[in-house]
Assembly symmetry: C2
Homo-oligomer: 169 residues x 2
């Protein structure tokens, strides 16, 4: 499969995909979040090859999303845990799960229910505004160039819109 790095793209979605866009990566984060911390358990739950899981875990550790913790010295054994960045990625997964529950519902209905401790209710994750708390939908939101906008790949369209880059660039 063709693979081009998104590293040069001035876009935080592209930068995020650079870290978590690989096949399996988000499912590994899901499994660790659900309490699977050992290599064998993750491999078995996902039905993923050991080689592939090794590579994906290395990427996640290098990307600061997962950390290895020794739980035994002789022989050395490690567990995998989410870092703070990894923990903050989980709500994004919950939002993706809600989208999947609605638009690509697995047979039998949603496989997972979520309960919110704060209010005690079963809930649907929803993307909201940090300022007013109301839902943020495409009809409700305008994207404008930010401080890191550039005319490089990925943000030309926004840069043009604001006059940062000429039409022909």
């Amino acid at each position: 499969m063709q693979r081009i790095s998104f590293a040069e793209m001035h876009c935080s979605i592209a930068q995020s995909l650079e870290r978590v866009g690989e096949w399996w990566t988000l499912l590994i984060v899901r499994d660790i979040h659900l309490g699977l911390h050992r290599f064998d358990d993750i491999a078995e739950n996902l039905g993923i090859s050991r080689n592939l899981l090794t590579r994906r875990l290395e990427t996640l550790v290098a990307g600061g999303i997962v950390e290895r913790r020794a739980y035994q010295k002789r022989p050395p054994r490690h567990e995998y845990h989410l870092t703070e960045a990894g923990l903050e990625l989980v709500p994004v997964l919950m939002a993706l799960m809600a989208w999947g529950d609605k638009w690509v519902t697995p047979a039998g209905g949603p496989p997972v229910r979520l309960v919110h401790h704060e209010c005690g209710a079963e809930f649907t994750p929803r993307v909201c505004c940090s300022e007013c708390g109301k839902p943020a939908t495409t009809a409700d939101v305008t994207a404008l160039p930010g401080p890191g906008a550039a005319s490089g790949p990925g943000t030309r369209v926004l840069a043009r819109r604001s006059g940062l880059a000429p039409e022909g660039s």
Copy 2:
């Protein structure tokens, strides 16, 4: 790159990745959302090969996320627009963008600012509870097996936790 279908996995994250997990797919959704509706414009903005873009757009159309609309008859020409499912995916992208802004900030800072029409403020997308409206974080949420939970790949861990599947399954 190894590619195993997630189609059999009882998990709405896996099912979502089956539709939108391919390289570039989410960036194509982003570009269409930002107003690029023509093949050449998307190809140029992303710096993606025409072959690859053709395949990804076909996947997105087949998955019900993007639709082709004729805008000219002779010769036939089409534009690409987001379907309702595609539009509802955009807030998930906004949440991923916010994660990227914080954890993998592109040089110069966040490339995009978002303004919420509802309140008029620049905001950070946040994943919240549909019932109480407060943020949903890993510390705040418990995942339980839903109606579609099964002992198949991907949800064994949750099924076990609730006694739906034996430890050895």
